[in-house]
């Protein structure tokens, strides 16, 4: 039967596009022929802003890249600057950073879980994911003073020592992680409708994933156990024991389960960091004005919640970066959206966006 090809604009204003993604779907009936991703609706020229801010002043801006995992991009930036200037971070600060970073990862994944829930119509899943994330937000408020963009990690360490009720709060959260995961699995993963909507949807095979430069949980779901925390450990990650969960099919269900498993692993990491938390300084002595050697450049990457988050900084000897580039994992992960959507039905676009878990603040910068 001869049918017309038509185009549907999913986004930028659409309930399920995670904040300003515009995916233009080329449809043949309910079948997707192609998806064209238009980006830039949340562009704030963060990289350009960096050039007019001092190294310290740029720290709060990095938190706005991946605002759902606020401490991770900040950690990445601070570590890059520390590497550039050769600053040694005190031991205690490293441990606190790991705890905060992993809490951020859990928060980000819980948002992914919650958002996938609502995108697929399981509204209650959204509420449960958000409810559990709320506890992390309270921990952030307790330490950094803010819930979403806590501005806690600084160049050289962390802004303030942890408050007294921090350790009990984190401990109880970590202890409850398995219970939360059971709930998500019971409500969503184990549900037949859920499985049917995700299984075999948006398959990303390992070769394509590597070719496109996909990283993070999306790559691991395709079966490649690549995690920068293991492959190129930064901070104190080489002292911590954790597993890299991987999938086998590379479909949406794998991406979903890998995220849930990562929540569990992050819980483990936090437990270990709490056990070994040393006493001591929380921030290194950092000069008031940071002036790296002129012409020096550096690339440093961390495993953020969405994948490999890298910062490339070129210095011209001044107190501001000459050029700063962010390798945003969401941006690169989004590039596979057309690939995984082609041939599926319309609803798969939503599933795929949800399970690829992009964050537009980061991909548009």
């Amino acid at each position: 039967m001869q049918t017309d090809i038509y185009r549907v604009n999913v986004g930028p204003i659409h309930p399920s596009t995670h904040g300003g993604l515009h995916a233009e779907a080329v449809m043949d009936g309910e079948i997707i022929q192609d998806v064209i991703v238009h980006l830039g609706y949340v562009h704030r020229s963060v990289e350009k802003i960096a050039e007019s801010r001092t190294y310290q002043q740029f720290v709060p801006y990095t938190a706005r890249l991946d605002y759902l995992a606020t401490n991770l991009p900040v950690l990445g930036y601070c570590q890059t600057v520390e590497k550039l200037l050769g600053i040694e971070v005190p031991e205690r600060a490293e441990y606190i950073r790991v705890i905060m970073a992993e809490l951020s990862r859990i928060a980000s994944h819980q948002i992914a879980i919650a958002a996938t829930g609502i995108d697929l119509g399981a509204t209650t899943g959204l509420m449960y994911g958000m409810r559990d994330r709320e506890r992390i937000m309270n921990i952030f408020e307790m330490t950094g003073g803010q819930r979403l963009l806590s501005s806690y990690i600084r160049i050289g360490g962390v802004a303030a020592d942890i408050p007294d009720d921090f350790i009990p709060a984190v401990r109880s959260f970590v202890n409850d992680v398995p219970q939360m995961i059971d709930e998500y699995n019971g409500l969503m993963t184990g549900n037949e409708i859920w499985a049917a909507r995700m299984q075999g949807v948006g398959i990303l095979n390992p070769e394509d994933a590597v070719k496109y430069g996909v990283t993070g949980p999306n790559l691991r779901a395709s079966g490649i156990a690549y995690d920068i925390r293991k492959a190129e450990p930064y901070g104190i990650y080489d002292r911590l024991d954790f597993d890299i969960p991987t999938g086998s099919r590379g479909d949406s269900l794998d991406r979903w389960t890998v995220r849930i498993e990562e929540v569990r692993q992050s819980g483990r990491i936090i437990g270990q960091a709490l056990d070994n938390l040393p006493e001591g300084e929380i921030i290194a002595r950092v000069p008031k004005t940071l002036k790296p050697d002129p012409g020096k450049d550096i690339y440093h990457r961390i495993e953020s919640a969405k994948g490999e988050l890298g910062y490339y900084i070129v210095s011209d000897g001044g107190n501001k970066p000459y050029r700063l580039h962010v390798r945003a994992p969401s941006f690169i992960n989004l590039m596979v959206l057309p690939l995984v959507c082609r041939g599926g039905v319309f609803q798969d676009i939503i599933t795929n966006i949800a399970t690829l878990d992009p964050i537009l603040g980061e991909s548009d910068r």
Partner: protein, 233 residues
């Protein structure tokens, strides 16, 4: 599979149906904020030394101030301080850098306002601050010299006629005699009493009584010591 998952899901929601709700009943019940919570930026004009650390550390040009060089003291004088709060990103860099802790966040998080202009907070130099400063610089010197004259006069009077002057602060005859004896042997005590009498009569009375008591005790001590010595002999 085969529907078990569906039933399990139903079971989970059923269980939650009877659980306690977690809704925070804002604004009936205000949320519990952590001590470090950053709400609204506050500024204390009087403490600020206009060092400019906050302004320089702010990434978003939220803060600005106007200063004036004071001719007398050659110090920077803060005229106004502006917080253009709409650009603030609550990063705390300003508050962390401030040496006087005069810029800080409070717990007020209800920041909405009807007009855009209301977001901007301008602190002007309080008028009483200038007045006080005047008192403490120009006025102070004059007052000091005036007082000194009075004190000198008082001291002279004390030396001339101790009984009459001291009767203003001491009641018993015996005490007056003791104190005048003491003052004659020690000029410092006289100076102190004179100064206090000019500035604060009550305090002078107390101090005088203290001196007398001390002198009495000393006497008693020397007497008992003398007795003891006798016994030993």
């Amino acid at each position: 599979m085969n529907g078990q998952g569906l039933i399990k899901g139903l079971g989970i929601t059923f269980k939650h149906f009877f659980q306690k709700e977690i809704t925070e009943q804002y604004p009936d019940v205000m949320p519990q904020l952590a001590p470090r919570f950053r709400g609204c930026l506050q500024f204390e004009f009087e403490k600020c030394i206009a060092c400019g650390i906050c302004v320089n550390s702010c990434p978003n040009n939220v803060l600005s101030f106007e200063t004036e060089k004071d001719e007398n003291s050659k110090k920077k004088k803060l005229l106004s301080y502006t917080i253009d709060f709409q650009h603030c990103m609550f990063c705390n860099l300003c508050a962390e850098g401030c040496p006087k802790q005069c810029i800080y966040f409070d717990h007020n998080f209800e920041l909405s306002s009807f007009k855009r202009e209301d977001i901007k907070m301008v602190y002007l130099r309080p008028a009483e601050m200038d007045m006080r400063e005047e008192e403490s610089t120009n006025g102070q010197e004059q007052q000091e010299s005036k007082e000194q004259k009075q004190i000198d006069a008082m001291q002279k009077a004390l030396q001339k006629n101790p009984g009459k002057v001291l009767s203003k602060i001491l009641e018993q005859e015996e005490d007056i005699i003791i104190l005048s004896e003491l003052m004659q042997s020690d000029e410092k005590t006289a100076g102190k009493i004179a100064e206090l009498m000019v500035k604060d009569k009550e305090k002078a009375a107390k101090v005088a009584a203290g001196f007398v008591n001390k002198a009495k005790k000393n006497r008693a001590k020397t007497e008992t010591a003398g007795e003891g010595g006798d016994a030993n002999d």
